[in-house]
């Protein structure tokens, strides 16, 4: 156990002007790059890492964590305002956030997103600070076979609850996984489906897919519908009652179960490497809709939906640090970048971290809590800015978004190649939407695809390819049973619900 005076010294380290200033700078940068489509917090962290080499470790790492946390709050802003998530994590937020904004209540939607994001983030930070060691040991015991079956379960949930019909969801799933196989195969490094393009060795760049599928189709659609009129992207009634701008305590409290569910799902999935916040947000959203008394009100501006999605995606970030700090294992791309930041200071995240660097770690914990408060205040201020920005004519907003997407993908995904890939993905996205195939299921399948393939090949190696050896993995079998039960229950309920028609 870390002595109490070390914890206090660490926390005292946080509350120095330099650290607080850098956390604030990180949060502001994070919210900005999160809110503006194109660059995104992960890219911003990657760009910032070499600069932290000259900083004190606590300052540098707090700064990067600030960017990550700010990014999640910022990502919800364009999702709510113009239906184009700034980061893929916020795609689920758009489901209810955008309809609410279209009803002329963008402030209300952004407030709900901010409050639930900060709530989910704080909850998972508290779990990280208090019980990360035992949670990390549980995560360690879940090996590739268990993760494989967990991923299969996640696929089932997403196909059934987000995919429309099972057949259409299944097609989307298959196409997403197919796209994820482009590049070198993990086992023998054989190039697959690259058609001579060496740039595709590492697969289709994530940025190109995220922007091409989630953002550009909406931007193009809105530009096409603009018909030259200079109307604002969102109309806000001039004499709007306060209740349509604010979230009352009662409304916040009514979302407590949605946020609790979101934070729990986010924390659990965040502690397991490789699943990520986008899937967590959709699973939490789907679970909240499935358990609601009025599921048909979701997708039409229900604040419960915003609360579930935002609390889940933010909870992932704190929980990602559980395996990172205790075992040195990154749970996401952002967390992997943080390991790099620790390492350039000669600090190796892992079991010795709490012994050797206790002061730094508690300083970091202090900085995370401080970042949550700053996220709240910067978010409040930023909201006014964004709601003003969105009053600009639609044509201006969407043209700017288009330019920012092009710049972002050029920076993040290898120059013109990234740009062409993004445009190809846009066409694919439009085609899928036209065919009624869920782009959400498609993109989550793509995000999880390489993890799925790796765990599949790992499981094959571990068991020597023998199905009998699966008997040695009771947790995996339990997940399989749960999965089948879910499918059975879902098809039966759907059948029953369909009967009155």
């Amino acid at each position: 156990m870390v002595p109490f005076d070390v914890i206090l010294a660490g926390l005292a380290g946080t509350f120095t002007p330099v650290v607080l200033l850098y956390v604030l700078a990180g949060v502001v940068i994070g919210q900005f790059v999160g809110a503006v489509p194109g660059i995104g917090p992960v890219m911003a962290i990657a760009i910032a890492i070499p600069f932290t080499f000259v900083m004190d470790p606590l300052v540098g790492i707090s700064f990067l964590v600030g960017i990550g946390k700010g990014g999640l709050v910022g990502g919800a802003v364009p999702a709510v305002l113009i239906n184009t998530p700034g980061t893929p994590d916020a795609a689920a937020t758009a489901f209810d956030g955008f309809p609410l904004a279209r009803q002329g209540k963008p402030m209300k939607a952004m407030r709900m997103a901010l409050y639930s994001s900060v709530t989910g983030d704080t909850a998972s930070d508290i779990i990280l600070i208090t019980v990360s060691a035992p949670l990390a040991i549980v995560a360690l015991k879940l090996g590739p076979v268990e993760i494989l079956f967990l991923l299969l379960f996640a696929f089932t949930v997403i196909v059934c609850l987000v995919g429309g019909t099972i057949a259409r969801g299944g097609v989307a799933l298959f196409l997403g996984l197919l796209l994820a196989t482009i590049g070198l195969d993990p086992e023998y490094a054989t190039p697959r489906l690259i058609f001579g393009q060496t740039e595709l060795y590492d697969g289709v760049p994530l940025e190109a897919i995220a922007l091409g599928i989630l953002v550009l189709p909406e931007v193009l659609r809105r530009l096409a519908q603009g018909s030259g009129l200079s109307r604002p992207a969102i109309e806000i009634p001039a004499d709007q009652p306060a209740a349509d701008r604010r979230i009352s305590w009662r409304e916040y409290w009514s979302c407590r179960f949605a946020m609790l569910r979101g934070a729990s799902i986010g924390t659990v999935l965040g502690a397991l490497p490789g699943i990520g916040s986008t899937a967590a947000a959709f699973i939490a959203y789907a679970a909240t809709r499935a358990s609601a008394k009025d599921p048909e009100s979701f997708g039409k501006g229900n604040i419960q939906g915003i609360a579930a999605a935002e609390s889940a995606n933010s909870a992932v970030v704190g929980a990602n640090l559980i395996p990172l700090l205790t075992l040195g294992i990154p749970g996401s791309v952002g967390a992997a970048l943080l390991i790099g930041a620790f390492k350039i200071h000669g600090i190796q995240p892992g079991p010795l971290l709490f012994d050797q660097q206790a002061e730094l770690i508690y300083g970091l914990f202090g900085a995370m809590i401080a970042a949550n408060f700053m996220n709240f205040w910067v978010g409040q201020a930023g909201m006014r800015l964004w709601s003003t920005v969105v009053k600009a004519p639609e044509l201006v907003i969407f043209t700017l978004a288009l330019l920012l997407c092009i710049t972002g993908v050029y920076l993040g995904a290898g120059g013109m190649f990234g740009l062409y890939t993004m445009l190809a993905c846009t066409l694919l996205g439009l085609l899928l939407s036209a065919l009624g195939i869920s782009v959400i299921v498609f993109i989550i399948a793509f995000f999880l695809g390489s993890r799925f393939e790796t765990t599949l090949s790992q499981s094959y190696s571990l068991t020597g390819g023998s199905l009998q050896e699966l008997a040695n993995y009771p947790v995996a079998l339990a997940l399989l049973v749960l999965n089948l039960a879910f499918i059975a229950l879902f098809t039966r309920n759907r059948h029953r619900r369909a009967l009155p028609d």
């Binding site: 070499p50 740039e199 595709l200 294992i329 992997a336 200071h345 010795l352 571990l462």
Partner: protein
Amino acid sequence: MKLNTLLKTAVFAAAAALSLPQTAAAWTPEEPILLRIGFGAGGETDTMGRVLAATIERQTGWDVVVENRPGGGGVAMLSALVAEDPDGLVLGMAVNIPPLMALSQRPDSVPFTLDSFDYIGTVTVAETALIAGSEAAFSSIGELVEFARTEGSAKIAWDAPDAKAILQKIGQKEGVSFRMVKAESGAEMNKLLLGGQVDAAFGTGAHLPFVEEGQMKTIASLSDKRLSSAPDVPTLIESGHDFFIAPYFYIAAPGGLPAEVKTALADAMDKAVADDAVQTVVQNAVSAPALNLGAEGTRKMMHDSLAPVGALFDQ
């Protein structure tokens, strides 16, 4: 007239005298140098490359702009690099194993050979260890083979194909089964080892805190010499298995650089690698000291490594 000639001579002499000490590095770039890193932003290669670039800027006053060109462990970056003009303004940073593997396995699929490049120098060579949980019943490669024989198989996590190939060769030779489990990083190998899902794994630095903590042990060195982190542990070669891996991080330029450009670049690189900032970041990133083989040394290393790397993948 005479004065004029005298003046001219004096000016010429002064210019010659001023430029004399610089003849070795007469070339200075007139535009920013682009350093393309064959891996994504934020990784070990990226971090080392960026600090190297910043150090060269500080020491020479040149502009060095870093760009990430990930794909195939640097093969994508090198494939594009061969098409650039050899004017010293575009350089690439890569790790030698992926291009050597591509050249020995499927030379037709890559648009370059080893001679398509001019080599500027190396930054470091990473060390690879074979590791196991501290409770494991084996403490050497020989005992691991016997363990696999009695248990039916041993599960070994890998993330670099050359390390995997070495263990497979040893398994074939000894007639035992190694179940080789692919991991995506050193961190994931640690996870699999600590979680008890595999019996052994490879370590390239991320494992060191666990060795120090007493949760893991080093059972062999896969480098051609003993590891700086575990000098008591023998190499595979010492244990009678004639294999080793030496992943060099190196800088190359499109082939055909003018001699003075190449010399200037190699000198700048040599000074930068000797700098404290680079030494520190290399040690922190790969847990091995910075090492520059020089322009000629790097070229020789690439040519000498091709056959051994190819031999690893012969069936």
